[in-house]
Symmetry: C2
Subunit: 459 residues, 2 copies
């Protein structure tokens, strides 16, 4: 049976014979008896197996090592002491797969840094088991939210030949041999010989393609991996990460904020409900107050202010800033932190200066700002970035010109403004940033199963 089933209704199995397969997380031995902590992967909780020297295989069982896999036959009993209510009194324990002496995950406190080096084994520890379980539950909650609300899931392409996002931020992909590149007459590389007949990249966003589908299905979302080439070794950067990009037709920036708020609360609520044991563990061991923080978010009403108002608050704060707040500029991490703590909760900041934002964002009537909105949350900073899109063909063309965007590869995207163009909006949410927020861990390397960062592509 599964441990999950057992621990959901232990009373049902009291005094009954049960069988469990799992891995030994801990093994404490006394002269005449011993305790094995067994985890079978189906739930966070471990099952305590008690055995004593009345078993004919007592000596054999005492030799079982942490990390090995065993089959346990036993009887569920009320625990005679210790923290747990029930334990399994062993009738037989059979070794399925031994753990060699050099098994690195021992029942002691390993640092996250050490465990990162053991990425393929670290989900066998409590911390990473909790993190990756929450990651899975959150992913499902996101799918469930959008599907329930009538969104169509669209798999936008990762391979692209359009470099409108700035190709220096994208990985080039090729099937050519680096040591034997085909050349043009002028000595440059002849990319027409590559698989797609031209330069190709892997992309950092599915937004443009998402917009095309939103103008057919009204409500769509993407959820997939994205890539950035940033050579940056911070706690929040990885070269491969996952993103969710919903796009909604007949939707302005106000309705967009409603959706963002509703979606985030729905996901947090689901994780609170389905991962209570994992969250309790992380609350105790990783971020004190984690559960309260999440509960507060669900119960709060997100504040909505303009970029101009945000700068006012920062200027009037009396704080000493490393970066002086400025009506024409982006806001810094220290500002984000101040604002979420000032409002004691999530804050939408909207209507940003057009010069620091992208060409596809709708120009506001003031001619100076665009209908962009960022969501700042306590502890994780910017969690979502979105905007109402420019739907006027001439206006988006002139914004492209202003910002020096090469339109030759996005003519189809611009054409969407010529064929039944309607008010539409969308946002992007970095999935890892959400997991950082949900788990309280600080480093993006700890929320990705096998993280990829500069000079670091192991496993």
């Amino acid at each position: 049976m599964d441990a999950k089933e057992l621990w959901e209704t232990p009373k049902k199995y009291l005094d009954k014979q049960i069988e469990l397969d799992g891995w030994i997380r801990n093994h404490r031995k006394q002269k005449n008896f011993g305790f094995i902590n067994l985890n079978d992967g189906t739930c966070f909780k471990q099952t305590q197996i008690v055995y004593d020297d009345s078993l004919s295989k007592f000596e054999e069982i005492q030799k079982l090592k942490v990390g090995s896999a065993v089959h346990v036959l036993g009887r569920l009993a009320k625990s005679e002491g210790g923290k747990q209510d029930y334990e399994v009194k062993a009738i037989d324990v059979v070794l399925l797969g031994d753990a060699d002496e050099d098994y690195p995950i021992q029942p002691k406190r390993h640092t996250l840094e050490f465990l990162r080096e053991q990425a393929y084994l670290r989900p066998r520890t409590n911390t990473y088991f909790a993190i990756f379980k929450i990651r899975s539950v959150a992913a499902m909650a996101i799918h469930a939210y959008f599907q329930k609300n009538g969104y169509v899931y669209v798999n936008t392409p990762l391979i692209t030949t359009a470099d409108c996002e700035g190709s220096d931020q994208m990985f080039k992909i090729t099937t050519l041999d680096f040591n034997n590149l085909p050349k043009n007459k002028d000595g440059s590389v002849d990319m027409s010989k590559d698989l797609f007949g031209k330069k190709a990249f892997i992309t950092g966003s599915g937004q443009l393609h998402g917009e095309a589908f939103a103008l057919a299905f009204q409500k769509i979302y993407t959820f997939g991996p994205t890539f950035r080439t940033e050579n940056s070794n911070t706690k929040t950067h990885a070269n491969e990460f996952w993103m969710i990009e919903p796009e909604i037709a007949f939707c302005d920036i106000n309705k967009l904020m409603d959706i963002e708020e509703d979606m985030l609360k729905s996901v947090v609520r689901e994780v609170l409900e389905k991962c209570s044991e994992e969250l309790e563990f992380l609350d105790k061991n990783v971020q004190n107050g984690l559960i309260q923080k999440l509960q507060q978010l669900v119960d709060s009403k997100f504040v909505r202010i303009s970029h101009h108002e945000a700068i006012d608050i920062l200027k009037n704060s009396g704080e000493k800033w490393e970066f002086e707040p400025n009506y024409d500029s982006d806001i810094a991490k220290e500002h984000e932190k101040y604002l979420t703590s000032y409002f004691n909760g999530p804050v939408f900041i909207k209507d940003w200066p057009k010069d620091i934002k992208a060409y596809y964002m709708k120009l506001n009537d003031d001619g100076k700002t665009v209908a962009a909105v960022d969501l700042e949350v306590p502890g994780a900073g910017e969690l979502m970035g979105g905007s109402q899109r420019e739907t006027d063909y001439q206006k988006i063309l002139s914004r492209c010109k202003e910002l020096g965007v090469d339109t030759s590869t996005i003519d189809w995207y611009l054409n969407l403004r010529r064929f039944g163009s309607v008010e539409h909006s969308g946002f992007g949410m970095g999935f890892e940033r959400l997991i950082i927020y949900l788990t309280g861990v600080e480093n993006i390397r700890d929320v990705i199963p096998f993280p990829r960062t500069p000079n670091n592509c192991l496993y």
Copy 2:
């Protein structure tokens, strides 16, 4: 309101005033009245809008073009004729976004080839609307099945430096400048200068990483994009496609087949239930008998035979083969077709000759075959491929040697056999192949929003 809501309970809205936003799919004009077919993206069904010259804007409305977006104010009424039961009598129609004269999707039968060239607009046609809706519903059904059954969703990495799958089938990725590559003293390219400090690829499978997580969580699945460099222009090949790769610990090949069968039936059942209108359309227009085919699959018991038995059947068939069936070889498309038609349903073929299968598959006791299993389905050929994995460290090492697999980059994977190794199995399902099966379309280019094939990376 949404058309979906309207058409779920039209009686509720009869004789009531309603408002709809959507796109004009068709516009038929008579002297004193006209019909507009409106689709708002929320459901397959179109809403018929009737207007006549009692409206002050009659002439303006008559000029509205196919492809443009409109806001309709009207009253739901019993239809006075035609195919539909209800229609909306217009009170006002407001143009939201015009369609320029060159709008390519007109209300006539376009070929799929023509529509492929309009990938960004084709979801506005019935056929592609149905296909991509089914794709979304099927994706959700897959997530729902695995989550309901306790699987953890794992995002395995796409960027890899291990080329154990054969790097000639993987795209190389780089941040280096092709026209200015750093060189070693011997003139070869110095890959240590690249972002990850070595050669890197985007991968075609998450299986190895999935196994590591299955040995912590017992049951896991992946669902994400994969890449192949095949320079192949067939109906079933694309260079970017999505895959589902579940991996289950404490699971042998027989239990694996149970899971594959149960999962597939669950997904088909869900699509039958949630996409009945889309399937009816495709049944009429793309593949006659589609719904019956799907219903039959749900009701059937999948046949299970060995590769040896399959070859026996083929040899005894009396058929003339292009490729002669052989006990030591793979089976050809013509054989797959014969077998699914012979059994009139899906067929599992297991226990394949070891020499034509991968190093990680469990060697059977006969020493000649491995515990691999392919699922063949009528009309789509091989839909899933899986195996019980080799769990013995020495045996997998010697299989690597036999097949010439470089083990230097997969030492961690092999180590899984030294640290609590248990019986485990997994399979891969090509998502597009499933969608081809579910929709009855024949070309993979028609089930991917923006397909990537050799010399073809548009949009």
